[in-house]
Symmetry: C4
Subunit: 205 residues, 4 copies
């Protein structure tokens, strides 16, 4: 990474939004390459490609969800430095990688493909946790009033990591059940939100 000092974070956020917007839109490409057999009906196409349709819906929801998390994490951030840029680039690399395991699980869940998919999500959530933690220890990069907010995000990311580790362990026994266990991610975030809001320092702003 370049040797720049702290600087405004606007371009980093715009670049990240661009990458996420493209990654979420590219998910439709495998579906556009489906050529229905002569005389096939919509029901035939759906029956043959339900795996691809499910994988599209799952990964769309996952990236949309990580976008809202990225948005929440970076809201108080005002300046960037090289470690934050590096962590964010690793985070983006994990987002951009997601269409690859997505296309693998369209074909097959077993053989380790579901595990790769869950590991990819785990990498994104772990990087969330690292970014949250980095910001907590570098309040000079933020607007200075949002420490409670960042602490709440740490808890949210930690709950996500825990939910993903559970899904990962399940996937070693049954790939399909492991993928369904990803739905644990959504209650994990809601619980994390409730727990941290009950704390006495909860959000003022």
């Amino acid at each position: 990474m370049a040797t720049e000092p702290e600087a405004g974070v606007d371009r980093l956020i715009l670049f990240s939004d661009g990458v996420m917007a493209i990654a979420i839109t590219l998910l439709i490409l495998p579906l556009t390459e489906i050529e229905p057999a002569r005389g096939a009906t919509l029901a035939d196409v759906a029956a043959e490609n339900w795996g691809a349709l499910f994988a599209f819906a799952l990964s769309f929801a996952v990236i949309a969800n990580y976008w809202t998390i990225h948005h929440a994490i970076f809201r108080p951030v005002r300046r960037q430095n090289s470690p934050l840029v590096l962590l964010n680039m690793l985070w983006l690399a994990a987002i951009v990688f997601l269409p690859f395991p997505t296309s693998l699980i369209e074909h097959e869940l077993d053989g380790g493909f579901a595990t790769l998919y869950i590991c990819n999500l785990l990498a994104i959530s772990a990087l969330n946790l690292l970014i949250d933690n980095y910001l907590l220890h570098h309040p000079e990069l933020t607007d200075g009033q949002a420490i409670d907010e960042t602490r709440e995000h740490v808890m949210g990311s930690a709950f996500s990591v825990a939910a993903l580790v559970i899904a990962l362990i399940i996937s070693f026994f049954s790939a399909a059940v492991g993928v369904w266990a990803l739905l644990l991610l959504f209650p994990a975030q809601v619980i994390a939100g409730r727990v941290s809001r009950k704390s006495p320092l909860a959000r003022l702003k």
Copy 2:
């Protein structure tokens, strides 16, 4: 979705514009994969691929039109909250999905493919209506002066939904006529605009 409180809406709009810009541009990809047979002329290529050319033009017009509607709906919006983000993400999912039915109707209208295409548009317009309605009941997310404007958008979206339901019913009888009936969308919007402007509360700004 993450547990963030209300916040500025700039990043949500930028992300949405990015997604729409990519979805509208990806529509050309099926056309770039055409390889003309040796000795074929432009007339041959056009004759063989008029379905793809028509589908490109139709979906481009549709996404461009929904972009202007999204622009109009979000103009008075100043803050976001979790339900608005969720509704907008569902809206984007329906936009990103559009290239899939587009590529299906390039091959074949019958067999339910035209119906899927129209249902996709119906989903987008219905989400428009839900977003309009949500904003009407949450004026605290807007700049407070645009209630008439939002009310007009509700009418515009309702007219679109009605035009699409008509096209959908027609498509059950004849897929081709159903697709042509989509052109009802454009007069529906013009009429909606006229009706709401005649109302005594019509736009001041």
Copy 3:
């Protein structure tokens, strides 16, 4: 198009930039699908695909050039209205369409493909001229001081249209010479710039 009144033009410009950025980047996709034969060297790959390499370079230069023209035209624009949005969407449709004739001329210039390519550029330049002209007659959409600038752009677009009409006519006799005649576009712009700067009202700012 939706029935919105005049409004700030920022989102329209951002959306246009997104579309152009994607269209210019998608040009590389056909090249990434080249799979060199076993034992082939770079010289072999280049010899087999020089048409694709040339078409990539030409269309990249064309879109980059039209981006600078769009930037120049929209610099003084402050507000949008429905006709301007419609003209801009047609302009974007012509930009998004360009990868299609680009991929056709990668295979073959004759048979009308070079003519389609030149017609596509002609459509973009003609829309430039229409947008310039529309702004000239609607100074209320601009910052009010840039009429001379817009008049200069009208002349630049008119020169481009003229150069493209010449290239189009040449392409009827020889497709290859017609494509080379596109290089007339660059001196046309330089001449247009010189002519309009010599006029007594030339740019003050």
Copy 4:
């Protein structure tokens, strides 16, 4: 290029970010086209496609790195003129081109493909050097206080060019060693940063 006078640089930076965001995301496309054989495990897929995985990781790191350099170079820039736009467009063309040699080295390093890849990076770094140098001689385009910063970027770009020339020469003898020599880029930037910070005029801001 159009004949515009100096103007704000925001749209140029946004357009560049868009292009880089798309180029970095498109790198995943070749991986999404992998269809594992029936009964293949993740280990089989990884073993067959390690070249594609390595090429993805390498090119992602390369573009992410060039993004941070572009960010650093353009931080003090406030205005643009035609030569700067032209240099930036050439720079973007070299970035957009990168997925092509990336897809070639996925198949084969020998036969000149690794050399093409390194030449592509050399073109980007050489254009960095030209842009830095241009800004150094046109301080009127910058905010006027960042000459030392720009001088430091000249040194960083020069070190990158030197590291790439070494990798290029190595690649003539062994393509694989030449690619590994690209890792010299990272220490080159760190050294460049240290050297220029020790100079008495080092950054104040």
